[in-house]
Symmetry: C2
Subunit: 185 residues, 2 copies
DNA sequence: AGCTTAAAGCAAATCTGTTGCATCAGGGTC
DNA sequence: GACCCTGATGCAACAGATTTGCTTTAAGCT
């Protein structure tokens, strides 16, 4: 059972904080479970029991970093909203830090839970953009289409070919997703 | 320097074989470097020195698994070729084993070399399909477009939402990539 | 207030990962 | 074909990480 206000919650909080601080201070490659435990004021075995190993812990922390902090900006029309969102997404995710978080999130995640959560974050943001478009009376593709046409290509290139990713690329994907959505099949 | 016929090559071979055998026998979560070393008739320090850690070793082995074994089948036209290739790709990659290999290839790979190699394999196969289409006089998109429209969506879903991936999905992506390529922008 | 139980602390034992030094096998040179 | 040079491997000792059984703590419930 999860006891939200209790000691477990405090421990989780302390451990997460310790991971973030130490990542910044000593760098991820130097991180060890005992080091995190010491900083969090906890014994290593607690961490091993709760998280299994360092990778799962890092995965947890990474997912928190990847959670969007604010809804996407409203630029007045679908294309502009989607372009803005895609540009920002690409910029954040393709940075060395962003790529590290994505890798960590995927890595310590045998069941795919954390990966699914990341995708859900993106889907939520896109859903907001599309809902606004609907309200304005614009024709809009559905979330799945935008995932396929915009998010997937960016993520694929971030993971598999991390060179030459520019705003222009994000723009083009957004444009093609919106304009092509009603195009002939 | 790599000495292809020498001891290094034999060691590499023995270690790779040991990894594959042990993955099948005890499962990947139980794998350890000392275990692999013992099976390969090698000391652990050799592995640590050559590969750094288990993840990099697994990454190496995974990339070999992901190398295509034969050129894509020729079905007589672009759409059929692409559909066939996409279906097969999705089937192989979305299986639990396939996903494990992809994850391993991506994750034990600080510099992104192995990930790049995976993408290059896919790009080669697609280039073959597209070159055939050109020879037949068919209009064909370029490789990058197919990566964006077909490979990226499949890979994104394999990694981030590993549920409900069917042949029909691969079909649809292939169809949209081919028919939409000349569509209005 | 007292009881129940999941989670945390503690400590011993085990195994993984690291490192310095000696040895060995290939490849190149004469 | 015998001889050195280079880099990779073996060995062994060590440091540190991970596991595990048992005890203790504290949150939630009656």
């Amino acid at each position: 059972m999860v006891r939200p206000g209790g000691r477990s919650a405090r421990v989780q909080q302390a451990v997460h904080t310790a991971v973030r601080e130490l990542q910044a201070e000593v760098g991820r490659p130097e991180l060890t479970v005992p080091m995190v435990a010491a900083r969090a004021g906890v014994t290593p075995s607690t961490i091993y029991r709760r998280w299994g190993d360092l990778q799962e812990l890092l995965s947890d922390v990474a997912v928190e970093h990847l959670r969007p902090e604010a809804p996407p900006e409203d630029h007045g029309d679908l294309l502009a909203d989607l372009r803005g969102w895609a540009e920002q997404f690409l910029e954040e995710m393709s940075s060395p830090a962003g790529r590290a978080y994505i890798r960590d999130a995927l890595l310590g995640d045998a069941d795919g839970d954390n990966a699914g959560r990341c995708s859900a974050y993106a889907a939520e943001q896109i859903a907001v953009v599309l809902a606004r478009a609907e309200e304005r009376g614009e024709e809009a593709p559905d979330v799945e289409t935008v995932l396929d046409r915009v998010v997937a290509p960016m993520m694929y290139r971030i993971l598999f070919r991390p060179a030459g990713l520019t705003d222009a690329y994000a723009d083009r994907l957004a444009r093609e997703a919106v304009q092509g959505f009603g195009a002939p099949r």
